[in-house]
């Protein structure tokens, strides 16, 4: 269990009332990872969503069976990752690695999903927040693609 105060600082929970945050807190706990430690593997069953409280985490995907993993995104403090625990088909399509010593809030996917079913108001607000996070991550990824393609074209 984490404190309501800790959850209050997290963007996706900012519209929730204190008593709603208390329910969310019951599904959450804290964990610490050393630099270089893997938080979850690509292809695993998504059971937990994470909020990075302190440190830095890379999201990596292996382009093919023989290649090393490549970093497609970097998670900064206050950002969430592993949201696949809340969106079907609940499978992790990338791996997460701590690149600095990192403190995370872990939210249990099944606990959170039950809570959303019981209290649709929480479900609606949190999922809306997550949709907005994924959407801005999408925009960021697209900008990186544009930059890479333009530098290949010799425009930059």
């Amino acid at each position: 269990m984490v404190s309501v105060e800790t959850l209050k600082g997290i963007t996706i929970f900012r519209e929730l009332a204190d008593y709603e945050l208390e329910n969310v807190a019951k599904t959450a706990y804290e964990e610490t990872y050393e630099s270089g430690q893997r938080i979850f593997a690509e292809g695993a069953w998504a059971q937990r969503m994470y909020v990075l409280v302190e440190g830095e985490v890379d999201i990596r995907i292996r382009p093919n069976k023989v290649s090393d993993q490549l970093t497609v995104d970097t998670i900064r403090e206050g950002e969430i990752f592993g949201w696949s625990a809340l969106t079907e088909p609940y499978s992790l399509t990338a791996a997460a690695w701590a690149v600095k010593k990192s403190k995370v809030v872990v939210l249990r996917g099944d606990g959170l999903r039950d809570l959303f079913e019981k209290n649709n108001h929480i479900g609606f607000l949190v999922i809306k927040g997550i949709a907005s996070v994924i959407s801005s991550r999408l925009r960021k990824t697209r900008t990186r693609i544009l930059e890479l393609m333009q530098s290949h074209d010799g425009i930059i």
Partner: protein, 159 residues
């Protein structure tokens, strides 16, 4: 307004009661587009959410003004697009161009957002579907990025 039957068959609204679906039919109308017609442009303010009933639509963006459009996703029958209308800052992130003659269901975004506020049961179920659609779009886009990073690393030619 469209008939209830059309709304009932759409995956996005699965789990909603007939009464809730009735609320949604009031916010919709049908529209048709010829092949190769633009439904919306990237960076346009997003006003409507779309469900493809019949046809095919490509989602893409241009690298720069006047360059060829890069297709990032293809929308098939039953799929939704234009979800930016439900996510701040309510601006389209890509353009939608019909690949075939297409029939679409158009849903007023602002009215839908108001309905979510009034009825969080609808809001939760529909936003959960939307999050899953955006998430799969991100997955496809990451794979495109991955191909670029990989070819850069291997020093081979891209595209």
């Amino acid at each position: 307004m469209v008939p209830l039957d059309i709304i009932k068959g759409i995956g996005l609204f699965e789990g909603l009661s007939d009464h809730e679906l009735d609320n949604i039919t009031e916010l919709c109308y049908e529209d048709t587009y010829e092949a190769d017609e633009r439904i919306f442009r990237e960076s346009d303010p997003a006003e409507s959410l779309y469900v493809l009933i019949e046809g095919e639509v490509n989602i893409g963006f241009r690298l720069k003004e006047g360059s060829e459009r890069l297709t990032v996703d293809t929308i098939r029958e039953g799929d939704i697009f234009g979800w930016s209308v439900l996510v701040e800052p309510y601006k389209f992130t890509a353009a939608a161009i019909t690949a075939k003659k297409s029939r679409v269901l158009v849903i007023y975004g602002k009215a839908l957002r108001n309905l979510f506020e009034k009825n969080p049961h609808i809001g939760h179920l529909v936003m959960r579907e939307i999050a899953s659609v955006i998430s799969s779009r991100l997955r496809h886009t990451r794979i495109k990025l991955l191909e670029l990073l990989y070819s850069e690393k291997e020093g081979s030619q891209i595209l």
